[in-house]
Symmetry: C3
C-alpha cells in the first residue's frame, strides 16, 4: 500500500533525530519502537483514566438535568443556556484552523509534508484531551470537570500554542519529544492563562498574549536549549533539508488561506453582543491591511524576484495576531487597518533581517519563522492593548467597559439599569489596567522562556531522544 | 487545454473496465460514448420529470404560505419554523464532508486522482436529487414531496452510503456501473432506513448503522459479485495500479482532515437541545481518542518505518463511526474516549490483518479498506448502542429518554409537564429496545449483503459493462 | 528559503508583461521595483487615510451606543439588531469562496500556481477595503460610513466581480495592471449596483447580473483592449504557457468544490425568512443539475477521452450563476433543476465552440473561459428573472412579493396586517418589473463593456506597463 512513502520521505528525518541508525541493529530499533508505542498508549490510557475520574457533562449537555430537557417551551427555559448553538459555527471554524490550517501551513517543507500534517494531527488530537483536563482543574464543580462545547473551543485554542512552538522546532526533534514538550506546555499555558485572565484580569480576547506570544517564546527557548547539544554539522544538515518546492508551497497556501479566512471567528468566539461584532470587523480589516502591506514589503525586500512565498504564507497573517489583544476594544476601523499594516511590515522585516540575525548570533533555529508571525506581532498586540486600556473611558464604552475590563468596575456592588445585573470589580483606573496589560505580557514572556528552556533541556537529558519515532 | 491529462491518467483505467479496446474500432467507441451520454442525460431528464410531478417547497420555504411570510413579528410567528436557520451551518459542514471530504480521501491513488474526485462529484450531484425523491415518497403530503433544508441534509447523508460503497469498488468498475449501483443503493437505503427508523424505532443519530454499516457491506458484496467474473490476471493488473505517491497522499489528507473536523456536525445535525450538545462533545472526544490510538498502533504494526499513511488517513476517523449510533446517549465523556480508542485500534488491526485475509480467502477486493473504517466500526457502534439502550433508565434521562427512544414512552398518551406536550410510545422496556437495536443491525447487514450482491451480479450481466465511461 | 520558486515560476510571466528585460540593466529594474512598491504602499496608505476620515462602527458594533450594550435582557433589547449573528456563518462561507475558491480555481495553470493564488489573495485583500469605502459613499450617515458585518459581506461579494475579470486576463497582465483595473472596476461596480438596486429596483439576490455578468464582460472588454497592443507572437507565447498538469488540476478542484459547496450561502446571505430558505434549496438543486449535465455533455463533446477537466472545474458551477437572479422567486424545485441543466449544457458548449470562436474572430483571449461560467449563465439568469417577474402574482407571493420586488408595492403607503409595518412602493405591474429586469441587464452589459474597454486602453497607455511586478 502507500505506507512506503512515509518511510521514504522520513528517511532523511531520521538522520536528524540524533539516532545513529547505521550502527544499531534492527533488534534495538524494534525494542525502541515497542517502547515508544507503550509510551503513546500509556499516555492515551492515562487520559482515559483521568476522564473516568474527573469528567462529566456540563448541565446544558446532560439529559439528567431537568432544566435543559430538550424541548421545554415554558417555565425554566432559558435560551442563553443553549451555549452550544452560540458556539457551534465558530467552534467548527477554529477546528479548521487548528487541525487543517496549522498543519498545512507547515507543509511548505518538501521533505516534511507528511510529518507537518501528520504530527500536527496527532499532537493536536492527543493534547486537546489534556487541555480539557488542565483547564478543568481550575474550575472543578464537585470535584468533576463539566464539559461543554466551550471546553472544546478552549482546548482547541490552548493546543494552538503548542502547534506554534512546533513551528519553531519542526525537523529538529522527534515526535515523542514534541509530545512530551506539548504535555508540559499545555500545563504551563493553563496556569499562565489562569493567572493572567482571572487574577491579573487582563483583556486578551484573541489570545495574542496567552497563545501567540507564549507559544512563540516557549518554542524559541526550547530550540535554544536543543541547539546547546547539537554538533555544528548536525545543524547544517538540518538546514539543508529545509527547502520547499512548487507543490509543497501550494499545499502551504491552503493552510495560510484557511487561517486567514477563519481568524475573525478565532478572535471573537468567546465574546458576545457588540464586542463580538466589533471583533469580527477589526480582525477582518487588520488582516486585509497586513496582507496588502506584506506583499508590498515583500516586493521591495526580495532582490531579483517578485514576491517571497515565505512572506505570502506567513506575514499576511500577522494582522490577526497583532489585533488579538485589543480586538474587542474601540480601536476604530482605521486603527485596525493601521495596526495590520504595522504588523505586516514588521513581519516581513523580521523574516529578512531578524530571523537570520537570531540564527547567527543566538544560535536559535526557527524553522517556520514563528518569531515573525506570532512572537513580535504578539508583543505588539500587548502594547497596543495597554495603550487602548489607558485611554478607555466610561463615556466611550458605557457599561461595556466592565465586560472588557471587569476589574475596572467599582468595588461596591451596584445594580446596573442597563444590563439588569449587579456589577462588582476592583475599581481599577485606566492607567492601572494598562499597567496590568504590560505586566501580563512580561509574565507570559518570562514564563514561556524559562519553562521552554527547561523543557528543551529535559528533553535532551532524559531518554526520550533515544526514541524511534 | 487541460483535458488531455484526464485521458492520459485514465488510459490505464480503461484496461480494467473490461473493454477490449485494442480490438475495437473507433466507430464502435463513438457509438458507445453516444449511448452512455444518452443514459446519463435520460437519467437527469427522468429526475427533472419526477421533480415536476412530485416536488413542492416545504411551507417554511413557500411564499404562498401565510404563516411563514418573511418578516412577521407578532401573531403566528414561531421561531421554530425557521428550520433553515437551525440547519444551515451544519448543512454546509456536511456538504463539505460529502463533496470534498469523501472525494479527496479517495484521491490517495496516484492513478485515480481525477476519477476519485470527479466521480465522487458527479455521483453525489446526481444522487442527491434521487435521494430527495426516494426519501420523499415515504412522506408525501397531498401526493407532493415538501422540500426543505432538512431534505437537503438527509439527501447528503444518504449519498454518503453510496460514496462508501464506491470506496470498495474504486478502480474496479466503470462510471456507469457506479451510477446504476448508486441508483439501486439509494432506493434500498431509504427502505432500510424507513423500516429501521420508523417501524423498528431504533436510535442511530449519527447513521452508523444505516449509512456506514450499510454502505460498507453493500460495497463489499458488490465487489464479491464482480470478482466472480474477473479473470485472475485482470485482478492482478488492478492491484498494480493501486499505489500512491507523495503528492497524492497529501491530497488525501485534505479529505481526511475535513471529514475529521466536521464529523461533530454530521453526528448532531438532526438533533436538538441537550441531545445535540452531548453529540458534539461525544464525537469530538471519540475522534480525538481514535486519532491518537490509530497513530500508536500504526507505529507498532508497521515494520521498518514510522507510520503508515493508510492508517493516518483512515483509522483516525474510526471513532466518528463508532460513536455514531450512541452519540446522543449518556455514554459519558470517558465512554466516548474509550470507544474511540477501541475503534482506532480495531481499524488499524483491520488494515494490517483482516483486509489482506479477506482479499486472499474471500476474493473481495476492498480498494480503500472501507471495511476497516466503516464496516467494523459501524458494527461496533450498533453493539454499543444496544448496551447503552439496555441500561438507559428514566431517572438518568428524564423525558429526554422518549426523544432518544420514542418507543419506550408509555402506550397510554400522557401530558408531560416538563415538555408541555403529549407523549405516546410502545411501552418498550430497556432490554426490548436493546433487542431492537441488534435486530436493526442484523437487518441492515443482511439487506446490504443481499442487495449489494444482486446489484453486482446485474451490473455484470446487463449491458452496462460495455459502456465507454 | 522557498522564494526562489516564485522567481523561477514567474520567469516566464515576465516575458509576457511587455518588458524587454534582457535589454534593461539591473539598475533600471531596481528603480522600477522601488516605484511599484511605492505605488502599492501609497495605495494602502490612501485607504488608511480614507478610513480615518470616513469610517465608524455601525451602532450594533459600537460600545458607545447604549441600545446595543452587550447583555441587556429586558427593555430595548431587539434580537434583530444582532445582525452579526445572522450573517456570521454565511459571511465565513462567502469568505472561503472569495479568498480560497476563486484563487484555487485559477491554479489549474501549471505555470501560474503562485500567481493565481497569490495575486487573488493580494488583490482581494486590498480591494475589500476599497469596496467598503465605495459602497459606503452611497450610504453616508453624518458623513461617516457605518461598518458592520454586512459591509464585510458586501465587500467580499463586490470583490468577486474583479476576481472574475482577473480570470479573463490571467497571464496577460502584470500585477500592478490588475490592481489599477480592480480599483476602477470596484468603483464602477458600486455605481452600477446602486443604480440597478436602488433606482431601477430590480431583483438580483444572488448577484448574477451585478457581479457575474458585470465582471465577465468587463474582463472580456479589457482583454479586447489589451490585445490591440500585442504583437502576434506575444499572444502565441502567452498561450503556450497555458497548460495544466495532473497536480495543478487537482489543486483547481479544491477551488471548484469549495465554490460549489458554499454557493447556497453566497446566493442567500442577504435574504431572510422564507426567501432565504427557498434560495438555499434552489441553489442546491440548480448546482446539482448543472454538475450532472456538465459531466454528460463533457462526455459527448470531448473526442477520444472521457471527461475534460476544464468542464469538470467550471461548467459544474454554471447552475449557481444561472439561478442567482431568481433565487428567491417561486421558480419551484423543478424550475431550479431545469435551469441548472440548461446552464451546465450551455457552459460546456461555450467551452467547446464559443470561446475558440471568440478567440479566433474577435481576438479576445479568455484564459479561464470566464464567458462560459459567468458571462452566458449570467445573461441567462437575468432573462429567467424577467420571465419570473412577469408571472409573479400577489396571490402566489402574498406580501412576500414586496420583499422581492419592492417597486411593485402600491404607491399609497398602507399598513399591512401580516408584516405589521407600512409598505410603500412604485405600484409597478408584473410586466413593468420584467422590463426593468431586462433594462438592468442591458445597462450592466453596456457599462461593463465600455468601462472595461477604457480601463484596458488606459492600462496600456499609462506607464503602468513599465512596472516590474
Amino acid at each position: 500500500m502507500n505506507g512506503d512513502f512515509w518511510r521514504r520521505s522520513n528517511m532523511n528525518q531520521r538522520n536528524i533525530s540524533y539516532e545513529f541508525s547505521n550502527i544499531k541493529s534492527l533488534r534495538v530499533q524494534r525494542i525502541r519502537r515497542m517502547g515508544d508505542m507503550l509510551v503513546l498508549l500509556s499516555l492515551q490510557l492515562f487520559l482515559l483514566i483521568m476522564f473516568v475520574e474527573f469528567s462529566k457533562y456540563y448541565p446544558d449537555a446532560d439529559a439528567s438535568d431537568l432544566h435543559t430537557s430538550s424541548h421545554p417551551v415554558f417555565g425554566g427555559f432559558d435560551p442563553n443556556l443553549n451555549t452550544y448553538r452560540k458556539y457551534n459555527s465558530m467552534f467548527q471554524d477554529i477546528h479548521v484552523m487548528v487541525f487543517l490550517g496549522f498543519g498545512f501551513l507547515m507543509a511548505f517543507l518538501k521533505k516534511y509534508g507528511y510529518s507537518s500534517i501528520g504530527f500536527n494531527f496527532f499532537l493536536a488530537a492527543i493534547l486537546v484531551q489534556w487541555a480539557i483536563l488542565c483547564r478543568g482543574f481550575f474550575h472543578l464543580s464537585n470535584l468533576k470537570i463539566p464539559i461543554s462545547v466551550e471546553s472544546l473551543v478552549e482546548a482547541d485554542i490552548a493546543v494552538a500554542s503548542v502547534l506554534i512552538s512546533m513551528g519553531v522546532l519542526l525537523g529538529q526533534t522527534t515526535l515523542l519529544q514534541l509530545i512530551i514538550m506539548g504535555i508540559i506546555e499545555i500545563a504551563v499555558y493553563q496556569c499562565n492563562f489562569y493567572v493572567g485572565d482571572e487574577i491579573l484580569k487582563i483583556a486578551d480576547a484573541g489570545a495574542s498574549i496567552f497563545v501567540h506570544t507564549f507559544g512563540a517564546y516557549f518554542g524559541l527557548a526550547a530550540s535554544f536549549a536543543l541547539s546547546r547539544f547539537k554538533r555544528k554539522n548536525d545543524i547544517e544538515s538540518d538546514k539543508s533539508l529545509e527547502s520547499s518546492n512548487y507543490t509543497s508551497d501550494l499545499f502551504a497556501m491552503i493552510g495560510t488561506i484557511f487561517l486567514w479566512i477563519y481568524w475573525p471567528s478565532f478572535n471573537s468566539a468567546e465574546l458576545s453582543g457588540d464586542d463580538q461584532h466589533r471583533a469580527i470587523i477589526n480582525t477582518y480589516l487588520s488582516l486585509a491591511a497586513s496582507c496588502a502591506t506584506a506583499f508590498a514589503f515583500s516586493a521591495i525586500l526580495t532582490p531579483d524576484t517578485k514576491f517571497d512565498m515565505v512572506h505570502v504564507q506567513n506575514s499576511t497573517l500577522a494582522g490577526g495576531v497583532a489585533i488579538g489583544a485589543s480586538v474587542n476594544m474601540m480601536i476604530q476601523p482605521y486603527g485596525a487597518i493601521f495596526l495590520g499594516m504595522l504588523a505586516g511590515a514588521l513581519s516581513v522585516i523580521g523574516y529578512n533581517y531578524i530571523t537570520p540575525w537570531i540564527d547567527r548570533n543566538l544560535h536559535i533555529h526557527d524553522t517556520c519563522g514563528v518569531h515573525n508571525l506570532h512572537g513580535m506581532p504578539g508583543v505588539l498586540a500587548a502594547l497596543v492593548s495597554a495603550i487602548l486600556a489607558a485611554i478607555a473611558t466610561e463615556s466611550q464604552y458605557h457599561t461595556g467597559l466592565y465586560d472588557i475590563f471587569p476589574a475596572r468596575a467599582p468595588t461596591i456592588p451596584s445594580f446596573n439599569q442597563d444590563v439588569y445585573r449587579h456589577i462588582q470589580g476592583d475599581g481599577r483606573t485606566a492607567m492601572q489596567q494598562a499597567g496590568y496589560q504590560i505586566l501580563a505580557l512580561i509574565m507570559t514572556v518570562v514564563v514561556a522562556i524559562v519553562t521552554g528552556f527547561l523543557t528543551g533541556i529535559s528533553n535532551k537529558t532524559l531518554c526520550f531522544h533515544y526514541s524511534f519515532l
